[in-house]
């Protein structure tokens, strides 16, 4: 039993860590701007494409990793400045539509550049190596992801709780207008949020695509949506919540992928039920359940509607 479940559990934890890194970007942006940044998943995908092209240009690996991080951060920053900043006073629906527009643009741009073909992700030494634990063979990235995720999250929480910019972020997410009146430079706080979010998405993309090997213009959509679900599940605006939510979703999703085999080997079912089809749907079912049962998520704060 353990031997059947363990590999799925392992992949689940790894994928969960990668979702967590994306989910932080969603949850921070939502916390401050009350915006579902639909383009975030595509920023994640663009980071993958940038890495592919930098590596193909013959740069040394460490340099292409650094440049990927840098370029992704610049893209994230630019998106906010171009597409969201002009709409700051517009109704929320306009900003969300703008985010969908950005997502559409990024996907089409990548389609144009790559010609719509699958791009093979370069092998990053060490994290691409194979490793065997408890009889389950996997890539090193599976082990690295959760550790790296935890380190980055701890660092981020320190940043938010103990630095001046972190304090400003917390203030802005509590009350946008009042913090502006208190002399906080809203625009720089928002830009910082997007920079941090994009940076983590870039790290996440390196881990994720090392696992899945190929990148295409639509690769970002699903992980993006799932990471958003994770953020809602954990309580939007809460960073630990997003991380916990992402791990739960990653694990559940991978267990469902293997559920047919697990149930079969445990002797519960006699035939293949094709349950793997529902691995994506499960995430959304979870979302709907949590929204109905506890709309604020696991660690979310309660808000009240004001007239």
């Amino acid at each position: 039993m353990f031997n059947t479940v363990f590999p799925y559990l392992l992949t689940g934890i790894s994928v969960g860590g990668q979702y967590a890194l994306i989910a932080i970007g969603y949850t921070m942006v939502y916390g401050i701007l009350r915006l579902i940044n639909f383009a975030h998943g595509d920023v994640f995908m663009v980071a993958g494409i940038v890495m592919v092209y930098l590596n193909a240009s013959g740069l040394p690996l460490w340099l292409s990793v650094l440049l990927t991080l840098l370029i992704t951060v610049v893209i994230g920053f630019a998106i906010e400045r171009v597409a969201y900043k002009p709409l700051r006073t517009a109704p929320r629906m306009s900003i969300m539509i703008s985010a969908i527009g950005v997502s559409y643009t990024l996907q089409n741009l990548v389609l144009y550049i790559t010609g719509g073909l699958n791009q093979f992700y370069p092998k990053v030494s060490f994290i691409s190596d194979s490793v065997t634990i408890f009889g389950a063979s996997t890539k090193m990235v599976t082990l690295v992801t959760p550790i790296l995720t935890v380190i980055l999250v701890v660092a981020l929480v320190q940043l938010i709780n103990h630095t001046k910019i972190g304090m400003a972020m917390r203030a802005v997410s509590k009350d946008f207008e009042t913090s502006q009146l208190m002399g906080i430079k809203i625009n720089s706080v928002i830009s910082t949020t997007f920079i941090i979010g994009s940076f983590l998405a870039a790290v996440g993309s390196m881990l994720y695509f090392t696992n899945y090997n190929t990148v295409i213009q639509t690769s970002g959509a699903m992980p993006g949506l799932k990471a958003f679900v994770a953020a809602v599940f954990g309580g939007i605006g809460s960073i630990p919540g997003a991380v916990v939510g992402a791990f739960i979703i990653g694990i559940c999703e991978n267990i469902i992928k293997g559920l047919d085999i697990i149930l079969f080997k445990a002797g519960i079912t006699k035939q293949n039920l094709g349950l793997a089809t529902f691995s994506d749907a499960f995430t959304f079912a979870l979302l709907i359940v949590i929204l109905i049962v506890k709309p604020t998520g696991l660690f979310g704060e309660k808000t009240t509607d004001k007239v």
Binding site: R34, L35, I36, V82, A83, P86, L87, A90, R92, M93, S94, M96, I97, S98, I100, G101, V102, S103, Y104, T105, Q107, N108, L109, L111, Y112, G115, G116, T218, A221, L225, F228, V229, V232, L273, G274, T277, F278, D280, A281, T283, F284, A285, L287, I288, L291, I292, P295, D305, V307
Partner: protein
């Protein structure tokens, strides 16, 4: 109340324009060869116009930001296909499922209505939990439901009904409406007029709904939920109705898409399709039925026809225009969309409708006279 019945010349002009469009469609169809790009655009445009108007009913008139349109289109498309595939062809289509479960075929119109009803039924069930959510949570929950529906329709255990992840085909398409003589030659082309008629009837129904008491309640909800509730409008009931009606027409739109494409597969109904329709609504103007119709034809024409030249190499004299290659069309297109979203937030029509255009003209004429 008396002023309401007064003769309104603007309405007459608007009706005349619509009739002229239909006549023009009918005549061009008889004159131009059937393979012309124009007809592809018109057929797909009519389909998208209906879906866009149905989305506008939710997003523009009720203020519910729903992103489940692709899911409801999928239900409509599948219901239509399942009920209309001729019995003789079922063995062929459902080759892995022993001919499938359904062993009868319906005529097109009842099947279209069934498609709408099926989508509305699902919308009713989904609406029960989801419509209590607020703005962006609602968006993401409906988006999630669309994904769940897509997964269910691809589940091979339901294959006897949905053909699993295989395509459905052989159902009547728009081309089957052309009237042929005994030799199989087309004597009267109707394949473009029919989608226009279906979409026209549905959109007319939606417009009537919007202008009714019910429609006014919906606008009140959009403007201010709390105030609307205080005025005695049952929020949940109205939202639920609006959601079901919108899905009903999205379902019919899905069936039309099936007719246009002649084959359907669940995996094509992704969230990207919903986004496309949302962008059509935005370009046309959120809250304008006329705008949604115009922009859906523009959107389809640009993406399928007018901007095609951007995908091929072009020479001006001896100079080869740089950047032009496969996919450039979509880049230009998305940049246009971003410009509309950022700088022309009103879209083409804002909240104006067709008769308003004539009204304004008349007013300015009066001013000139004065």
């Amino acid at each position: 109340m008396k002023t309401k019945k007064k003769f309104n010349p603007a309405m007459l002009w608007a009706a005349l324009v619509i009739v002229l469009v239909y006549v023009a469609v009918f005549i061009t169809e008889q004159l131009l060869p059937a393979s012309s790009m124009l007809f592809t655009v018109l057929k797909k445009g009519a389909t998208y116009a209906l879906v866009a108007v149905s989305m506008n009913l939710l997003n523009g008139f009720t203020g519910l930001f729903s992103l489940g349109q692709a899911g409801f289109m999928l239900i409509g498309a599948y219901t239509y296909a399942i009920f209309t595939i001729p019995v003789a062809d079922r063995m062929n289509v459902y080759q892995y499922y022993n001919g499938g479960l359904v062993q009868f075929a319906m005529p097109v119109v009842p099947a279209l209505i069934m498609a709408g009803l099926a989508a509305a039924l699902f919308a009713f069930l989904i609406g029960l939990p989801v419509l209590r959510l607020k703005s962006d949570y609602l968006a993401i929950a409906t988006l999630g439901f669309a994904e769940i529906i897509r997964a269910i329709f691809q589940w091979n255990k339901l294959g006897a009904l949905t053909n699993g992840s295989n395509i459905l085909r052989e159902f009547p398409t728009f081309n089957d409406f052309n009237i042929r003589n005994a030799e199989g030659e087309v004597t009267l082309y109707l394949s473009t007029l029919v989608p226009f008629l279906i979409a026209g009837v549905c959109i007319a129904l939606i417009v009537m709904l919007i202008n009714s008491t019910f429609g006014r309640s919906l606008r009140a909800i959009k403007d201010d939920e709390i105030a609307a509730e205080a005025m005695g409008i049952n929020l949940f009931h109205h939202k639920q109705m609006s959601f079901c009606i919108s899905s009903f027409f999205a379902g019919i739109g899905g069936a039309m898409l099936a007719m246009y494409q002649s084959t359907i597969q669940a995996k094509a109904f992704t969230s990207a399709m919903t986004y496309e329709i949302l962008l059509i609504v935005v370009i046309g103007g959120i809250g304008s039925v006329t705008g949604s119709c115009i922009s859906s034809f523009l959107f389809v024409a640009c993406s399928e026809w007018w901007l095609r030249f951007l995908d091929q190499k072009q020479m001006i004299g001896n100079f080869e225009v740089p950047l032009l290659r496969n996919g450039f069309r979509l880049v230009v297109f998305s940049i246009i969309i971003m410009i509309v979203v950022l700088f022309f937030r009103q879209g083409i029509m804002g909240t104006k409708e067709l008769p308003d255009l004539f009204k304004r003209k008349k007013k300015s004429q009066q001013e000139v006279k004065a």
